[in-house]
């Protein structure tokens, strides 16, 4: 189906079902119950899952296929956000032109940075991209204040010219982003017994775009172009002597992944129309590297998993404060309760990144292929068990 083989179609359909039913899947606990804080099915976080999923899918096209580790991808995300907000200020509150512009501007930006950075490979390439991203960040923060509004960040105001649309909405406020009249923030709620499910228009727009982005990534992975990108990673010498010019291939991959980042940035601004320079900072660039490696670089689904994982930690673990911990350990005697809270305290709340760091280390050390490799190992374990049950002779073969 859609020009994909059976396995890829299945994968695409699974991802489609998961994203479409995410409001249910991510809300397994009844609202108001003690576990409700682990629910991730609220619009803001779900949007982040899929937007950063797009970002990581794009990054994986560059890093996973060609092996070129860019440390400056957040620059494209930031450029995409700024472009989108400017589109909202000047043209219309419809998200479509904003998203299109952010993809184009990020693509052009990636073409320029890629053209210079791809003259080097390995660590030098990483440093060059990092330098460019930090340069963009510094410019956005200071010199380019007329365009980026400096440290305050670019926001909508009541005096925006907005050619197609009104500067002020009917109720006197700033108009909200919409898709042909459907407001991005509009959310339908569904009460099912104690459960509360939220269906947000903005989330579904992001989810559909992520599915398109994912589908395109699968096509690229399976195409002759994708094969050439893997050849770049594997052996550039042989590639050269096989009559292939590696430069345009890597540059094309760089621009494509820059456009994915621009799309993600445009969507971030479409969901919440503001853009700040910190979106371009090196920590943001590092985050997408972590997502891709955590999920499994070079795999199709890995980056999406990694993005979801990190965003879940960032938003859910960071909310567990001492009060919550005390309520968890309340059944223990007082002294023991305090001790447990003291032990767990550094790993949750503000210390969520410590837990994430430990998990990242564990994954890199024990599962170099990321979470996807973990999934495969578990899958293999089950299959082997089945084989052992079915044919007794198989039990004699040594494990790996």
């Amino acid at each position: 189906m859609f020009g994909l083989d059976k396995k890829d179609t299945t994968l695409l359909l699974i991802v489609a079902v998961l994203t479409m039913f995410a409001p249910f899947i991510l809300n397994p606990f009844p609202a108001g119950s003690g576990m409700a804080q682990f629910n991730a099915g609220y619009p803001d976080l779900m949007q982040r899952f899929v937007i950063f999923g797009i970002f990581a899918i794009g990054f994986n096209i560059l890093f996973g296929l060609t092996g070129y580790l860019s440390f400056g991808h957040a620059a494209f995300l930031g450029v995409g956000s700024y472009s989108a907000v400017w589109m909202f200020k000047l043209l219309s509150m419809n998200v479509i032109p904003a998203i299109i512009l952010s993809v184009i501007v990020a693509g052009v930006f990636a073409l320029i940075i890629g053209f210079v950075s791809l003259r080097r490979s390995g660590i030098y390439f990483s440093i060059l991209t990092l330098a460019f991203a930090q340069m963009s960040f510094a410019l956005a923060y200071s010199v380019l204040t007329p365009i980026t509004n400096g440290e305050t960040g670019l926001q909508l105001s009541l005096s925006d010219p907005r050619i197609l649309g009104t500067s002020v909405s009917a109720d006197g406020g700033i108009p909200v982003t919409s898709l042909f009249g459907i407001e991005m923030r509009s959310t339908a709620e569904m009460q099912l017994g104690p459960w509360l499910f939220q269906f947000n228009a903005g989330y579904y727009l992001c989810a559909v775009l992520m599915l398109v982005a994912f589908y395109l990534a699968i096509r690229i992975f399976r195409s002759p172009f994708g094969l050439m990108l893997r050849a770049v990673k594997s052996n550039q010498q042989r590639m050269n002597y096989t009559g292939l010019n590696a430069r345009p291939y890597t540059l094309a991959a760089f621009v494509i992944s820059g456009m994915y980042a621009g799309l993600a940035g445009g969507l971030l601004a479409s969901m919440d129309p503001l853009a700040g320079a910190e979106r371009m900072q090196w920590t943001a660039s590092g985050e997408v590297v972590l997502m891709t490696i955590l999920g499994g670089a070079g795999t199709l689904i890995g980056p999406v998993l990694g993005a979801g994982f990190i965003k879940y930690f960032e938003n859910i673990f960071s909310k567990i404060n001492d009060n919550v911990l005390h309520s968890w350990f309340a059944f223990m005697p007082d002294g023991l309760e305090d001790l447990m809270v003291t032990i767990v305290h550094p790993f949750v709340g503000k210390g969520w990144s410590l837990t994430l760091g430990l998990m990242f280390m564990a994954v890199v050390i024990f599962l170099p292929g990321g979470l996807v490799e973990g999934g495969q190992k578990i899958g293999k374990m089950f299959r082997r068990k089945k084989a052992v049950d079915g044919t007794p002779s198989a039990a004699k073969t040594p494990a790996e």
């Binding site: 395109l216 195409s223 042989r238 345009p248």
Partner: protein
């Protein structure tokens, strides 16, 4: 005039004269071997032919066109393929994917943005790749990871990758270096088959005299960056100067 004409090529590395006035003419559809002791400049010469190095002076003409100043991928597109001393293959890919890359390069040129097509739907190229794999007796290994194969298999895969491009000139840099006797003999047989198919010129750099004398039509002996003699294998064997310079025997 030969398909490959090297004229007055000089190459210095600092104080070392790696190549001094090298003249070489490789005739069409022959196997030309270049032999010489270590440091004779064989590999330097080869690197000058494929665009990795640019000679200080002199000219290198392939089929009437100069190769100097061209990038390795451009030279390959002209019809020169190269087999390396240690097999250079795409280790992360399967054998079949390894074969598809030269097939695609041959059809699409040095760059083509073929991002939404599928490798699996390239039926004609796949058939061509499989045919070539069958020819080097590796069809059963088509789905293997290239890096996990033995060195002999890697070498055969590399040759298959070069041959599937149907080059006019195949350059081989010590194709049997570090191989067991059996693998060496297999390689010789393979090269003989290739030669028998015709329409290909081969230029071999080799240490193993057994390989050289069983394949070459003509032999050039290099010593200290300069061609000593060029002749048929039979004449080279008995040449006193060669015995002295290369075989290390006193005449």
């Amino acid at each position: 005039m030969g398909i490959l004409e090297v004229k007055d090529v000089n190459k210095r590395f600092g104080g070392l004269q790696a190549l001094g006035n090298v003249n070489l003419s490789v005739a069409d559809n022959t196997v030309h071997a270049i032999i010489g002791p270590n440091g004779a400049g064989k590999s330097t010469l080869l690197n000058c032919l494929v665009g990795k190095l640019i000679p200080d002076t002199g000219s290198v003409m392939f089929d009437g066109q100069s190769v100097l100043g061209r990038k390795p991928y451009e030279i390959n597109q002209m019809g020169i393929s190269r087999v390396f001393q240690t097999p250079e293959i795409f280790g992360d890919l399967t054998v079949m994917e390894n074969m598809m890359i030269p097939c695609l390069a041959r059809r699409d040129g040095s760059f083509r943005m073929h991002a939404l097509a599928s490798v699996f739907s390239e039926k004609a190229l796949r058939a061509r790749a499989e045919e070539m794999l069958a020819e080097v007796k590796m069809l059963d290994k088509r789905d293997m990871h290239a890096a996990s194969m033995s060195r002999g298999d890697k070498r055969r895969l590399e040759m298959a990758m070069c041959l599937v491009q149907e080059p006019r000139l195949l350059l081989l840099d010590e194709p049997t270096a570090g191989m067991a006797r059996a693998d060496t003999n297999n390689t010789i047989d393979l090269l003989k088959d290739i030669k028998a198919r015709g329409n290909i010129t081969m230029c071999i750099i080799e240490h193993d005299m057994h390989v050289v004398f069983s394949l070459a039509d003509r032999i050039t002996v290099l010593a200290q960056g300069t061609p000593l003699v060029e002749d048929t294998p039979a004449n080279i064997k008995g040449h006193p100067k060669v015995r002295e310079a290369y075989l290390g025997e006193s005449a």
